[in-house]
């Protein structure tokens, strides 16, 4: 009786089970690769600015560009740093002048604590002094609010390689990309 059961297991159940398992695995792997190939990871974005109309406008423009998910908003640097503790972000767009904690301090701390996040300054301040300070603090770009930044925003959210982004109006300014002494 036992030998009949063993023979059944070996000759019928086991081959059928193995065949089904392999099909399942194969299908599973195929499915996994299909998902991997067909979905590009959306960029998680946080916008920090004390003006809600600016936040709303930027959010609309980014969503139009696509491939982004705005995962949070903050009104100042302190709120931004608190938010980053609980919400990972690939890119943070932040104003320079904000109440309570401005962009400079927020980038100084945020850049150290969240090295994988790219911080991009987005300000109405166009004086090279501010731009240089933000560069020294660790931003990956400086955009000015009066420029037409649509193409740059498109590049920022779609490009994978790390480059530095600068609004057209700032490109002729005397900027100091290596001067970390500015931080102090």
């Amino acid at each position: 009786m036992i030998s009949i059961v063993l023979k059944f297991i070996l000759r019928v159940f086991l081959p059928v089970f193995l065949l089904r398992f392999s099909l399942l695995c194969g299908g599973g792997f195929r499915c996994y690769f299909w998902i991997k190939i067909n979905t590009v990871k959306k960029q998680k974005i946080i916008i920090a600015d004390n003006n809600k109309y600016f936040r709303e406008g930027l959010k609309r423009i980014l969503l139009n560009i696509g491939n982004v998910k705005v995962v949070g908003e903050a009104e100042n640097g302190l709120q931004l740093l608190d938010l980053l503790e609980i919400q990972k972000a690939d890119i943070v767009f932040l104003d320079v002048a904000m109440p309570e904690m401005g962009g400079f301090e927020a980038v100084l701390i945020g850049h150290q604590k969240f090295p994988k996040t790219r911080f991009i300054a987005f300000s109405s301040l166009e004086n090279p002094r501010y731009v240089n300070r933000m560069i020294a603090a660790g931003v990956s770009g400086y955009l000015t609010k009066s420029s037409d930044n649509y193409d740059l925003l498109h590049e920022i959210v779609t490009e994978k390689q790390q480059t530095f982004y600068l609004s057209p109006g700032l490109q002729n300014h005397n900027l100091q990309f290596d001067n970390h002494s500015l931080v102090n």
């Binding site: 004390n50 003006n51 809600k52 109309y53 600016f54 936040r55 709303e56 406008g57 930027l58 959010k59 609309r60 423009i61 109405s124 609010k145 009066s146 037409d148 930044n149």
Partner: protein, 211 residues
């Protein structure tokens, strides 16, 4: 309620976009155009009628003061509300003289925007309270002008106008009719020589008539 046609004038395209989205969510408002400076606005107004213009002050090519002057002269029915940053309060006088009917800070709420647009459409004026406080600090003279004698009631009405109360609200607050408030307003205009409510507010601040 009739739909109010609004134009936004600001050189910051993203701010305009956000304001446009939020304003269009208000039932009686339709944003009919955008401009990035005074020149663009004047071109736009040749083909697009409007009821209210939300005007930035500092802009390239033609700033908000110049644009407000031209709009007031060419289209006297269009109301201009200045949208300003804190740093720009020193332009208060010039914008009032140019013909602005209201002042809002750029960080204003949609409720305040709605209220300000409603009031200027009814020929009244609106000044955000936070803005008025800073203007008061900025423009307040060292000594009060004592040559203008106001009665207690006139003083009360003046303070409420400066706080952005509408005629109906002042009437309710004081427990009198709107017509009585109109009478107080007329007397205040006469005593101060002001032509309209914004002029009256500016006069009151400059002469230390309000606290």
């Amino acid at each position: 309620m009739e739909i109010a046609k609004v134009i936004i004038v600001d050189d910051h395209v993203i701010f305009r976009k956000g304001l446009y989205t939020i304003l269009n969510e208000i039932d009686f408002i339709k944003v009919v155009g955008e401009a990035s400076n005074g020149n663009e606005l004047l071109e736009l107004l040749k083909k697009q009628p409007a009821d209210v213009i939300l005007m930035d002050i500092k802009m390239p090519v033609m700033d908000g003061i110049e644009a407000t002057k031209k709009v007031s002269a060419r289209y006297p029915d269009i109301k201009v509300i200045a949208l300003t940053m804190f740093e720009e309060i020193s332009y208060f006088n010039k914008m009032i003289e140019a013909g602005a009917s209201g002042f809002l800070l750029k960080k204003t709420t949609s409720e305040e925007l709605e209220r300000a647009i409603n009031l200027v459409l009814e020929d009244e004026s609106y000044f955000s309270e936070e803005f008025m406080n800073s203007v008061n600090v900025h423009l307040k003279p060292k000594q009060k002008n004592t040559t203008i004698a106001l009665t207690d009631r006139e003083q009360e009405v003046l303070e409420l106008i400066c706080k952005g109360y509408s005629n109906v609200e002042i009437a309710n607050f004081l427990g009198v009719s709107s017509r009585t408030v109109d009478g107080f307003r007329a007397r205040l205009f006469e005593k101060t020589g002001a032509k309209n409510a914004p002029n009256l507010v500016m006069f009151a601040i400059k002469n230390g008539l309000v606290n």
